[in-house]
Symmetry: C2
Subunit: 180 residues, 2 copies
DNA sequence: CGCCCCATGTAATAAGTTACATGATTTT
DNA sequence: AAAATCATGTAACTTATTACATGGGGCG
């Protein structure tokens, strides 16, 4: 369902486009929010056309089809955005790792956390640069900015958790002690 | 893959159990970290037994099988925990909503955010109570606590984002203005 | 004996991933 | 003309969801 919404959202903000365009748009703009590859996008667009949510606005050279959102598609999108969803079931690899971390001995656990810390730091920098770029480019759709902001806050929180957890594990491993 | 890991983790922390036990354990302990229903658990356990990660330790009345983790299973679990994974592709309904929020007019967007705020607040309270309970019960596996801590931090961050975004939208809707 | 909960499973469908296949256009 | 890349699609497989099916065991 959400893939449809993402596609409708892109068609709505950026105007009509082909499957290829949408796949590119995914990579560029919405990828850190919802990921999909072209092999998922093409069939989904076909189904959406069959359901009347989009129309084939134009047929270009080699099978290129330009899709545009229909009124029905806009309604569907609006309904999804305003209708409140029950929280989707949680399925987070990071949290699973957190849960199972104490199965490792302290040194190993801290090693894992420090790898994670490096990755998370890199991701945070990446997102912050992206935001700086977007701000200066003054690209009007603010959606990207709100979502980026969300990503940046999440990354910062992740880092804080990593550090706090590593500290806790270290403290427990050497209680009231100073050596390694 | 991660379902296997979750199951191996539970067998490793809580000892042998049947499919039913594990399904219960999922609901009780690991559910806010990784969700799975019994219809996914039973077949997966069978495959894991075929792969030598678990063994059927005992057969009880009516087809009840008690599974136990094998050495090979422990190794697999250990490998997953220490081997560093590339970040899985992002797919977050919340972030997608954030991305598409500006498609709504300001009043609608703020309405959506306030619904979200209520839900997120409820979730936060729930997790905080769970943590209080776990702390007082002094249940030894710390994993639950680290994961809970992660969940609580994430919920708090979510709330902050919701409030900041609502404020931003409100400020833009009535620039330099005081009325509604 | 009938009802309810325990307990295990299968089937059908949906969603997502990875790999394969194909041909047109632009660039060098 | 060859190479790169644009552009569209399909196939096979894995993972997850929802619904259906079945039967034992305890209890009133």
């Amino acid at each position: 369902m959400s893939l449809r919404i993402a596609l409708l959202g892109l068609l709505s903000t950026s105007g009509p486009g082909s499957g290829y365009d949408l796949a590119k748009a995914f990579e560029r703009s919405i990828n850190y929010v919802w990921h999909a590859g072209h092999s998922q996008i093409y069939p989904e667009l076909a189904k959406m056309a069959a359901d009347g949510l989009v129309t084939v606005e134009a047929q270009g050279t080699r099978g290129r089809k330009t899709y545009a959102i229909t009124d029905q598609g806009s309604e569907e999108l609006h309904r999804w955005l305003t209708g409140h969803r029950p929280a989707p079931p949680v399925r987070s690899e990071g949290a699973l790792l957190a849960f199972l971390l104490p199965l490792l001995d302290p040194a190993e656990a801290i090693g894992v956390l420090s790898t994670l810390e490096a990755e998370m730091t890199a991701r945070l920098h990446e997102l912050e640069q992206l935001r700086a770029l977007k701000r200066s480019a003054q690209v009007p759709p603010r959606g990207g900015l709100y979502a980026l902001d969300f990503g940046i806050r999440s990354a910062r929180t992740g880092l804080e958790w990593i550090r706090a957890t590593a500290d806790d594990i270290a403290a427990r491993a050497t209680p009231g002690d100073a050596g390694a």
